[in-house]
Amino acid sequence: MAESTIRRATPLLALRHLALVVVSFVMLVPFYWVLKTAITNENIYAYPPGILPRAPHLYNFVDVWYLIPFPRYLANSIIVSTIAVIGNVVFNALAGYALTRDFPGRRAVLALFLSCMLIPFQAAIIPAYLVTAKMGLLNTYFGLAFPLLSTIVCIFVFKAAFEAVPRSLIDAARIDGLSEWRIIVRVLLPLSKPAIATNVILSFIWSWNNFLWPLLITRDPLMQTLPLGLARFLSYMEDTTGALYAFAVMVLLPSILVFLMAQKEFIRGLTSGATKG
């Protein structure tokens, strides 16, 4: 649904591209080095630093694969992240919608949510563990996804997106006779696709990269998630050559894949033109 635009004067366009190229270069340089070290045996502290990889190979990745029961850990990670993403979208959308409505105690709830952002997860691990244990969710997939089923940042992203939908659309829906549920599902959510995309990306990344929580609640070694399982071997590997970087790249790839799939929703202007005048 991309709209055509008036092409700006060429020098300004070139300037935008130039700025973006500079930024991209800065973003890519360290990343290139991670990649380069992952595909060679070189030590990053070798002097002079070689720009191009000498004798590149992919065998570091094979080593990482056989270091741990990779397929099992990968499956664990995928299941846990899927649960977290689905839970996030559902709960955060509902909470975000509730926050756009006026109800007694709304400011208190808002303040409560904001203050939840202030507490780092490390400070809450003991209560979190106890709650999960009492619910019998230790060492289960759902328990692994539990703390990340909803995040405050994503609630506010949804809140902002829902508030951006013109009020008259919602009123029109009410006139048409839609119930609250229908309004959320049929009107607000389709118009908030960028917010859903952001939510999916962020919740996937946070649950995929989560080390601390799986470390705490997995008893059975086979229930570990991928980053955790690999991180346990970090101390045995030197941190200046291939294995660590191959590991970092392998953990990174699924998140990038999810980003690429979800970011198509960042197309502009779904709500523009819905209301005129």
Binding site: S4, L20, P49, D171, R182, L202, A231, F266, K276
Partner: protein, 330 residues
């Protein structure tokens, strides 16, 4: 028919009749039936809004059919509506919905600011336009966010290295400096270097938050401003920034919170830095508790940090106009 000067209550009266608002006093009767307190769907009214209020994600037919479908009309009756609709009316409605597309406005190019939200805002705006390859740029900027903090810390520590690091190597090879700069060893360079590495990692996160916010700014605002003759910077400051208030609020608050608790990168790169040059409150807390085993002192520091963050968050909320920066929309 209601006539009267603006502000006398015409729209409000109509809304009360429709059921979108409840009267503070009195009763509403429609066709011999008392309806105040009855929800709009049961009042059997239809409303044509001042501003069309069309569902943009549904087709024209669905827009007209949806209300009927909810009411339970049979499918064939709804289809009959479509057939009866003159084609001209169909075309006009359809074109009106897409007229803005013909005019088209791309988002404006801001100046990249000195700090993270501004930088992310700049990048988000750049990639939000129909620029060719916007997807590629977006992905490149985002690549660093899902990378493990450990890997980021080690790589940047290497990049800043005096002897083997690529930055010093490039600077010396191009003749810009004679002696290597101790980015992580020099008192003046240490903190900015760590900050830069941190920005490098999290830029993608703030970029997509702002991208989401940018998506929801209606294009007709920019069109109107253009027609009024407002220059680019005015469009940015008068339209983009105010409409982005909730996203900017989120960015700034989360940015402050995250920078207070960003432990991993500093710990790996400098562990507090030469002397205490890169000592954050959080690293100081960690060292007091687990290295010097002064748990009571560390706990007190935690309380102080928490209070400070509470104050900052409240102040940010106030500055954003309360309600987490929400913007009043029509």
């Amino acid at each position: 028919m209601l006539v009267g000067p603006s502000g006398c209550g015409k729209t409000t009266t109509l809304r009360i009749v429709a059921g979108l608002e409840e009267p503070s006093d009195g009763e509403v009767w429609i066709g011999g039936r008392r309806v105040d307190g009855v929800s709009p769907r049961d009042r059997d009214v239809a409303v044509v809004f001042q501003n069309y209020a069309l569902y943009p994600h549904m087709s024209v037919f669905d827009n007209m059919a949806y209300g009927l479908r909810i009411r339970g009309f049979a499918r064939k009756d709804i289809a009959a509506v479509k057939v009866a609709m003159p084609k001209v009316l169909h075309d006009v409605c359809y074109r009106a919905m897409h007229l803005h597309g013909a005019l088209g406005v791309s988002n404006e190019l801001p100046l990249a600011g000195m700090w993270m939200s501004a930088a992310a805002l700049g990048i988000a705006l750049l990639v939000n336009s129909d620029l060719k390859g916007a997807t590629v740029y977006r992905t490149i900027v985002f690549l660093s966010y899902p990378l493990m903090a450990v890997a980021v810390g080690i790589i940047w520590r290497w990049m800043y290295d005096e002897r083997g690091g690529i930055i010093n190597y490039a600077l010396r090879a191009s003749g810009l400096v004679d002696r290597p700069i101790g980015f992580l060893q020099d008192f003046d360079w240490a903190l900015p270097s760590v900050i830069f590495a941190e920005i490098w990692q999290v830029l993608g996160f703030y970029m997509i938050i702002l991208l989401t916010g940018l998506q929801s700014i209606p294009q007709n605002l920019y069109e109107a401003a253009r027609i009024d003759g407002a220059p680019a910077w005015a469009r940015f400051f008068r339209i983009t920034v105010p409409m982005l208030r909730p996203s900017l609020f989120l960015c700034i608050v989360v940015g402050i919170l995250n920078s207070f608790s960003s432990f991993d990168l500093v710990y790996i790169m400098t562990n507090g830095g030469p002397g205490h040059a890169t000592e954050l409150l959080i690293t100081h807390i960690y060292k007091s508790a687990f290295v010097e085993t002064k748990f009571d002192y560390a706990a007190a520091l935690t309380v102080v940090q928490f209070s400070l963050l509470v104050v900052l968050t409240i102040a940010a909320n106030r500055a954003a106009g309360g309600n987490a920066g929400a913007v009043e929309r029509d």
